[in-house]
Symmetry: C2
Subunit: 207 residues, 2 copies
DNA sequence: GTCCACCTCGGACATTCCGTCCAATTCGTC
DNA sequence: GACGAATTGGACGGAATGTCCGAGGTGGAC
């Protein structure tokens, strides 16, 4: 009845879940069918057998060690999770399952905010007025969107790029010198198209 | 032997100091002579009788309730303090002393950073990539410096402006479009001079 | 007071960047 | 395969950037 993979990995999942409880869930996915094999301490009320949202994982390929993340995930109720995934292989070296640990960062962030606010002077930030390597940040934002939507940057939809531009514009990226060529490069479009899309967005910003 | 003001206010100072120990000092200043009357739990190894650095206080005038701050103060060793001051008046209503409480925020900030870093995904912040109205921030930074040094912007020293430029440059202001004229205006110097000073700073940045 | 070294300033200038436009090409759809 | 829409590279005018210089100004030494 019980899947042999579950038998094999169950102690690991249970141990991690118990260590981080109540703020983390551990999920064991079937690599082939994209189904959930087992969940310990579920945060997002998924049950065994549910389809997992694992499709994206194959696309991220940091070339190598079968460990992904940590990356950020948003739950529908707004909680923010830090997630890591590990590809588990059977004795032949074939991927047979994927183990994901999702840690709810919300309480930690609340605590951090509490400490940071304590006795804070009226002028909050010390320095760090502008992002130093904003180009990196641009690529991160684009990368996040790409991961979220499962399309590599080269074949984003026109609407994708519009939305991404809206995001970047709202973040004030275009107030930075030399930003346009960088963003165009990150979005894999030409400078001309970027200006066209940007004009379109600014003409009628979408909600 | 003991100053009557010290006798009167001593319990207050001692109580506050004991409550916040070991991360806060309480200092009682003489309003007229700018001397330290008493210190509880000193952080900055000042002793009774030392000249206080209170001169600035008169310049900050939030019109009214004799309470100043909290504002930020830097110790020479880099610790950051949150300070509040209260003007204490005698029975005639004349200012007779000033009570300052300096709270060392460093441990709190370290703890906050620790929590914030725990399990943080690689992409830290959600949004708020670039300061939206950076011009305002430039004026704030210059304003802070001016207040700190008690010279209006028109007659800052050359070295003042160099230091201020270093600060702004480190904050990345000059990566923003159209920043140079704004900064020149805020520093009350010409564009030419700004470029000259900036080159001088970048040639030999001071420690 | 005079001199001199050092700054600052306004303006000229070359350079780079920005934003727009267009004709040619590619793409997606039917 | 034909058609309309989107994208592209390139060209262009205008704006911002960064450099340079000569004309004053300022302050200190003597």
């Amino acid at each position: 009845m019980t899947d042999p993979r579950v038998r094999r990995w169950s102690p690991v999942g249970a141990a991690i879940a118990r260590l981080l409880a109540p703020h983390a869930e551990v999920v064991l996915h079937d690599a082939a069918t994209d189904r959930v094999l087992a969940v310990w301490n579920p945060l997002s009320r998924r049950a065994t057998g549910d389809p997992s949202m694992l499709g994206e994982l194959k696309r991220l390929d940091p070339a190598g060690d079968d460990v992904y993340g940590p990356y950020e995930k948003l739950l529908s109720d707004g909680r923010r999770l830090s997630s890591v995934s590990a590809v588990l292989r059977d004795d032949d070296g074939e991927p047979s399952a994927v183990l994901c640990v999702n840690l709810d960062r919300t309480p930690l962030e609340q605590a951090a905010a509490l400490l940071a606010a304590f006795a804070a002077p009226t002028a909050p930030r010390p320095e760090a007025l502008f992002e130093q390597d904003w180009a990196e940040r641009v690529h991160q934002i684009v990368g996040a969107y790409v991961r979220e939507h499962g399309r590599p940057a080269e074949r984003l939809t026109r609407d994708d790029r519009l939305a991404l531009l809206a995001e970047l514009d709202a973040a004030g990226v275009f107030a930075v010198r030399r930003a346009v060529p960088v963003v165009a490069g990150a979005l894999k479009i030409s400078r001309s198209t970027l200006y066209a899309l940007l004009a379109e967005h600014r003409r009628s910003p979408r909600p």
